[in-house]
Amino acid sequence: MSISREDVQHIALLARMHLTEDELQVMARQLSGILEHIAVLQEADVSSVALTATLLPQSGVMRADVPQPSYTPDLLLANAPDREDQYLRVKAVLD
């Protein structure tokens, strides 16, 4: 299993990342290495195991619809890289 340069380019686009040609090559090599490493899982015999969407033992866990106060906006925005008044400020995004 290997990841091509084009695969990396596509993933980078979805992640809104710009990678140089060199970085594309490096990423392709490294991601391929990771997949090869993980590929060992393919060898496990899971024919007797049913497909599942979760490994959690419980299901149907829900909460009542009761609003609770949260932290103050100032505290929540404290780690924001940039803010303007009570807004988070980000680079221009074209729709």
Partner: protein
């Protein structure tokens, strides 16, 4: 049917429409955290917490009420409710989505394979509902261009995480009008259930459309476009009319339809291509590992079904059967729950006549004068200052002959503006009809004395002179006199003059 689609070349084509409707659910708290979900007009980022801001290490917990509302909608739309359901992650990067993914439902939605019925030209048409699934709303972006030409965006996450229900129809609609009727019926059901505010103009109810055209007789679907940004029922119909014509013109000109997303530009009345960088279907859905799947107990479904309120179609039929309303009146009243409630409260509060005659008067005034006033003031029934019992008092006064219909309209206008009870206005302003004969006789004498020409006309046998004189008395009394009571008095006085 639209004039354009019915004419010329357009008639050779069939329009195929499917709708994707999103509605925020009226829960008190958000979908996966306990932040308040009613954020309208509040300061930015004042209803946020580490969960809905997507901070690392936090965990979502499902809001039971949102699931229950979803199941209510599923039952009202005759859907199947599978026993097993789960949430999935829909991955994409955009600043309105703090986690980098939206929690949604992919292959196992709560509701599937239902339908909704619309009434068109006296016929009932069934539109399939493919699925209804629960997800979370995104944040709001404000795009700014400052004086220096720098562009940036401001992010408000109050809306992020509000429960959002997506209802997807089958491509069963064949005209923009059918699409509008579907949208209106769906809104009526959502509002009747009490799960949605139904306010399209505020964006709490949104509609996207998939539309394609094909030559009549063709069974394969044409290439579709997705239309966004339609913020009213009227916009839905207009946008789809425009888009269908555009597609037909493209095909007629020998060009191919490109599958793309197009935005409706209300001010220009056109759709324009919205190039999106995201490649279609590259959301890399996978099961949400932070949320256990849900088993939807059959007992829960049965209990919800038991509690479902009366839905618009059933209410319309009851209005026709019980109040003997016309189909049109019943449809108009039953289509909006607050209006229907107001109507029934008015009929119940009226004290004169039998129920059908009370209902007839209430329907006429509600669908007529009151609707006109609300349209002018851009109000809805929920905003009305005139209460149902207030309107009932007014209609009783008209029925009793205390005031005329014309006076009733004036009183209603004042009550509509001030909120004062109509009966109180009638009493305070002395707007009661003059029924005192002596007083009416005095007015008649005055009018006869002031209009010798009309009297002469009458004596020459021109009976419409009487109508003119009635009008004059009405003017003198500022509409407080009833024409039927004035007429005999005037004629008696005129005849007495002639006999002299």
């Amino acid at each position: 049917m639209t004039t354009t689609a019915a004419s010329g070349v357009a008639h050779d084509y069939e329009i195929v429409i499917g709708l994707e409707v999103h509605t925020q659910l009226l829960t008190a708290s958000k979908m996966f955290c306990s932040c308040g979900a009613r954020y309208a007009d509040d300061a930015p980022n004042s209803h946020v917490c580490p969960v809905c801001m997507g901070m690392p290490g936090v965990l979502p917990v499902i809001n039971r009420q949102a699931v229950e509302y979803t199941l209510m909608v599923g039952l009202a739309l005759h859907c199947q409710i599978p026993e097993f359901s789960k949430f999935d992650r829909k991955n994409y990067f955009y600043p309105d989505l703090p986690k980098g993914y939206q929690i949604s439902q992919y292959d196992l939605p709560f509701c599937r394979d239902g339908y909704l019925e619309i009434q068109l030209d006296g016929q009932t048409k069934r539109v399939g509902v493919t699925r209804a699934h629960l997800e979370e709303d995104t944040g709001r972006l404000v795009h700014i261009k400052d004086g220096m030409g720098d562009a940036y965006s401001l992010v408000d996450l109050n809306r992020a995480g509000v429960p959002l229900l997506e209802i997807v129809s089958e491509p069963d609609m064949r005209s923009p009008e059918e699409a509008r009727l579907y949208m209106q019926k769906l809104r009526a059901i959502l509002v009747a259930l009490g799960v949605s505010s139904g306010r399209m103009e505020e964006g709490s109810l949104r509609c996207d459309a998939n539309v394609s055209v094909r030559r009549r007789g063709e069974t394969k679907l044409g290439t579709k476009t997705e239309i966004k940004n339609m913020n009213s029922f009227r916009a839905v119909q207009r946008a789809l009319e425009f888009e269908a014509q555009r597609q037909i013109a493209e095909i007629e000109a020998g060009r191919r339809i490109i599958q793309e997303t197009r935005g409706w530009v209300e001010s220009k009345g056109i759709t324009v291509s919205q190039r999106t960088k995201e490649e279609a279907n590259d959301y890399r859905y996978f099961p949400e590992p932070d949320l256990p799947p849900l088993t939807v107990a059959r007992e829960w479904i049965a209990e919800i079904a038991e509690r479902l309120p009366e839905l618009p179609d059933a209410r319309r039929e009851r209005f026709i059967a019980r109040y003997q309303l016309s189909a049109q009146d019943a449809e108009q009243l039953a289509a909006d729950r607050p209006t229907a409630d107001y109507f029934e409260a008015t009929v119940a509060a009226m004290t004169r006549g039998d129920e059908p005659s009370r209902a007839k008067a209430a329907a006429n005034w509600l669908n007529g004068e009151l609707t006109r006033l609300m349209k002018e003031a851009e109000q809805e029934v929920a905003d009305l200052k005139v209460t149902a019992s207030g309107l009932a008092g007014l209609l009783d006064a008209i029925d009793a002959g205390t005031i005329s219909t014309t006076q009733g309209k004036t009183v209603l206008e004042r009550a509509f503006a001030s909120g004062e009870a109509p009966v109180a206005i009638i009493q305070r302003e002395g707007i009661a009809q003059l029924s005192d004969t002596t007083e009416l006789e005095a007015f008649a004498r005055q009018v006869i004395a002031a209009n010798p020409k009309a009297v002469e006309d009458y004596q020459r046998g021109r009976t419409n002179a009487v109508q003119f004189l009635i009008g004059q008395v009405m003017r003198q009394t500022k509409g407080r006199a009833k024409p039927d009571s004035i007429q005999p008095i005037l004629i008696a006085q005129l005849d007495a003059l002639s006999a002299e």
